[in-house]
């Protein structure tokens, strides 16, 4: 474990100087591209592979029930999203994306809440609530196996560069940028862990550390806290921007939701 701390120290020492770690001009996909799954111990992988034992499915089941739940006043999600054009079979692989009506970037959580507001006359669900996690996990799991592919042109371009910026900016008492672990040092050991490439393709995921299902934004918040930086709010513009950057960076990787992570 001492060598793990030494790695942190080495990365920190190497990080003296500018606040921003140079970003390449083209989207920097780690090569070869490897999902977070590839960095797990075999028994953690086995838990994700087992559609009964994977505890995330408790939320997926609940999400499916909520998706089909009509309240007697407005339609259920499933009334609109049946087969055909509005099918959600692969939708999650193309999020975050710009909401045409508002021009803003939304992730799946945001889209669910917009749908509730616009079409169901229901109040938005709180970020990280069991219901929003359940619906998000259900919708994302419909796209399981679909390769990630997001649009970063037009109105999304500014969001993308904001996310790229966040990813390359050193922050916190450790003075570390995301890129220093997840681009420059993935595959190396940090204490008992192997540093991953930092993809979000399994989220919402059941983290053994959390002992529950959690969103990608909760994971990002933990990363920030991990380098002793002030975490942003879940659902904040910063994290939405990072989510878009990460999706572009993971382009081609398959959606794994509901994943299991350590």
């Amino acid at each position: 474990m001492k060598s793990g701390i030494a790695v942190v120290a080495a990365i920190c020492l190497a990080a003296c100087g500018n606040d921003r770690v140079a970003a390449p001009d083209t989207p920097p996909q780690p090569a070869p591209l490897k999902s977070g799954y590839a960095f797990l111990q075999p028994q953690t992988q086995a838990l994700q592979d087992d559609d009964f034992a994977n505890p995330s499915f408790l939320w997926v089941d609940r999400g499916e029930a909520l998706f089909q739940e009509a309240d007697g006043i407005t339609d259920a999600c499933s009334d609109c999203h049946a087969e055909g054009a509005r099918s959600l079979a692969s939708a999650a692989a193309h999020y975050p994306q710009i909401d045409q009506e508002s021009g803003r970037l939304v992730n799946i959580e945001g889209r669910i809440n917009l749908c509730r507001e616009r079409y169901q006359d229901r109040p938005p669900l709180t970020y990280e609530s069991d219901d929003l996690l359940a619906l998000t996990a259900y919708v994302a799991h419909l796209a399981r196996g679909e390769p990630v592919s997001v649009d970063i042109e037009g109105a999304a371009a500014d969001w993308y560069s904001r996310g790229e910026d966040y990813f390359h900016t050193r922050r916190g008492q450790f003075n570390l940028a995301c890129t220093q672990c997840h681009d420059e040092n993935w595959g190396k050991k940090l204490r008992g862990d192997t540093i991953s490439q930092g993809h979000g393709t399994g989220f919402p995921a059941y983290r053994l550390e959390w002992q529950t299902l959690g969103s990608l934004h909760r994971r990002l918040s933990d990363c920030d806290a991990g380098v002793r930086a002030e975490p942003r709010a879940l659902g904040s513009d910063d994290y939405l921007a990072v989510e878009l950057y990460l999706a572009r960076r993971a382009e081609g990787l398959a959606i794994e939701t509901p994943g299991v992570r350590r």
């Binding site: 028994q43 008492q173 862990d193 550390e209 975490p231």
Partner: protein
């Protein structure tokens, strides 16, 4: 293997790291809150009484390494015909290092058909988990297995 000599300093370091955390759940345990081998013996006596325990007939399956002690898959099984005359009545899983030695006590009988149970347990550090089975003739048998619980890089919950 059941104990690590540097345990107090490891906890002190973990507590220190958490103190510096901006947010999150603490998983640190207060010093002295851990069970030890004697506590595990006491837990077993509490359940089964002060009878001799034979080695064998019970097997414990655990992964060699767990990257997080919050959820470790375990399978315990006992060799038994599971007939009305000869079967397993109870099986206990006991830890020599968790805050509480008792983890679970299973009661089964001839209708189980097979004395094998799988679940997931918490392990507060590297340790050898014990399982004691009581047979219908009153005899006790035990087996054990150990897992190395590695330390996570990021301790923020």
């Amino acid at each position: 293997m059941t104990d690590m000599p540097d345990r107090p300093s490891a906890i002190a370091r973990r507590t220190f790291l958490l103190t510096g955390a901006a947010a999150g759940l603490s998983t640190a345990l207060p010093l002295g809150a851990m069970a030890d081998a004697a506590d595990a013996d006491a837990a077993i006596r509490e359940i089964f009484g002060d009878k001799p325990i034979n080695d064998g007939r019970v097997s414990v399956k655990l992964p060699p390494i767990a990257e997080n002690g919050n959820s470790v898959a375990i399978t315990v099984s006992a060799e038994s015909p599971m007939s009305f005359d000869d079967h397993v009545t109870r099986m206990a899983i006991v830890s020599p290092r968790n805050p509480i030695a008792d983890i679970a006590l299973f009661k089964l009988g001839p209708r189980a058909g097979k004395a094998e149970i799988s679940t997931r347990i918490r392990m507060a550090g590297t340790q050898r988990i014990r399982c004691v089975a009581e047979m219908s003739d009153g005899s006790l048998w035990q087996g054990s297995a150990s897992t190395v619980v590695t330390l996570a890089a990021c301790l923020i919950g």
